[in-house]
Amino acid sequence: MDMKVGKKKLGLKEKYQHMTRGLGWETTYQSMDDVFPFVKYEGIKIHDWDKWEDPFRLTMDAYWKYQAEKERKLYAIIDAYAQNNGHLNVTDARYLNAIKLFLNGISPLEYMAHRGFAMTGRQFPGVGARVACLMQSLDEIRHAQTQIHSLSNYNKYYNGFHEYRHMLERVWYLSVPRSFFDDAVTAGPFEFMVAIGFSFEYVLTNLLFVPFVSGAAYNGDMGTMTFGFSAQSDEARHMTLGLEVIKFVLEQDPDNLPIVQQWIDKWTWRGYRVLTLVGMMMDYMLPKRIMSWKEAWEVYFEENGGALFKDLARYGIRPPKWLDQIEQDKDHISHQAWATFYNYAAACNFHTWIPTDDELDWLSQKYPNSFDKYYRPRLEHWREEAKKGNRFYNKTLPMLCQTCQIPMIFTEPGDPTQICYREVDYKDNKYHFCSDGCKEIFEHEPEKYIQAWLPVHQIYQGNCFEEGVDPTAEGFDPLSAVLDYYHLAQGRDNLDFEGSEDQKNFEAWRGMATKNAA
């Protein structure tokens, strides 16, 4: 009788050891400094790369197996969603604008993260760190691809999804997320890891993927829910790695602490500013809401972030700077951002609107300290004006912050009626900032931030018109010329949701889905 003798398998820890150690070598034809040219200039000192450990102990063989299973699940759902005309099951067509913002503003960042981790992995001499960067780089390109595939289904039916790649480098508000990532990938490898691996992934991405994606599910968008949770299942690994990076770097040498602390301050603030967009999506763009931006902030930033920084205190790390202001801002930023996009709806690739009475009441209830006093009266005024045929479209371009590139819309800490302005004279120019945080970040690296491509400046300099356009010609319409440059069609992709092609089509198609033709 044949006896099957089970071959003893390696335990998780042993397998991780075998597949992440001893795979590199000391180079001799070229010096190690030439092979890894960026690993020392930031001042971070590493003495023993073998101390690097992935707490999940994931190895490439297991990685492929589980990622393949995630992909099969995801594509099965996306196919079913498309075959079933799932887009007609979303709560109402206003919701589509939240995912336009997602495709245009967030998915391209996934692709940049892929590039960033590929470059960073190349720069680390330690094999464990390189394997971790390789996996994350693959995860990030997977996220970009699955988001583009999922959302391409919407592009068959609705406006504003058509040229996200082209718009990323042109449309004014998209310079905010784009410049955030450009800033990170042009930093050194350790700063990139702290910026994206730690500050963005650990401290902030839960806010993007957890409550917002759960909200997508609540609004009937199975496609977004699926890619969102599928991406987030990788994020759990990224977050763990982000925390591990910090611990590893701090344990290697005491000189690393002040450098890391400065990066945590900078990147928490930078990431927090970018998330203003997400705050607005949660409070204004999900027709059915699960939690307010403020509530999400309290759970995922204050509670979790608080626990995290308490844990890191043993290394001498303190919580990020400017938390006092951040604490006050949670009552305001989503409303200030929505008001801005309402103003500039003529130059946007998605629609805006005034919330319904029910929705205004919900906001009043969720924001008892701020909404009725500062924001509701303004929205109601705009609604009255729109009823009279004066829908307000702001045609004056706003001043932008040199660091975060967001228009100067944020208010002074302690005074929500006063716009916050800061300025710095550097060489022969004056630079403007939305906050103490952005000002201080600039002052630390002025030569980097004076190179910022600020959309408003570029428009005024005449750099945002199609070739051959003559701005001095009689009857020249600058807005229309800028929309041409963005590849946006006036009256179709922009303006108010009320009366939009999306609104009409959705209503007609949903009618066809629920009734027989007369």
Partner: protein
């Protein structure tokens, strides 16, 4: 004491995993949200392979968790038998 959490998608694969986590962590609190479940626990939380295997009636590799995992916090330590989340402060 700080709280850790683990969030999982709501589906047939996770039903027993959630049940196992709650059984092994009597101090944990389960929050159901649209399409997801978030389990919060003071101090630490342990996911035990043997408890999951008893409930699903087959072998389970703890790394299978990655398929339905949404998010987590805390310091992670994973072995063949247990996944532990904890804060040191």
């Amino acid at each position: 004491m700080s709280k850790v959490f683990i969030a999982l998608q709501t589906n047939d694969d996770t039903r027993q995993i959630i049940q196992a986590i709650l059984a092994d962590n009597p101090h944990a609190i389960c929050n159901e949200q649209p399409a997801m479940v978030k389990i919060d626990a003071e101090g630490s939380l342990v996911v035990r392979r043997s408890t999951i295997e008893e409930l699903i009636g087959r072998d389970f590799d703890l790394q299978e968790l990655h398929i339905n995992l949404i998010s987590l916090t805390g310091n992670v330590d994973e072995t063949d038998d247990e996944l532990t989340l904890s804060w040191n402060a």
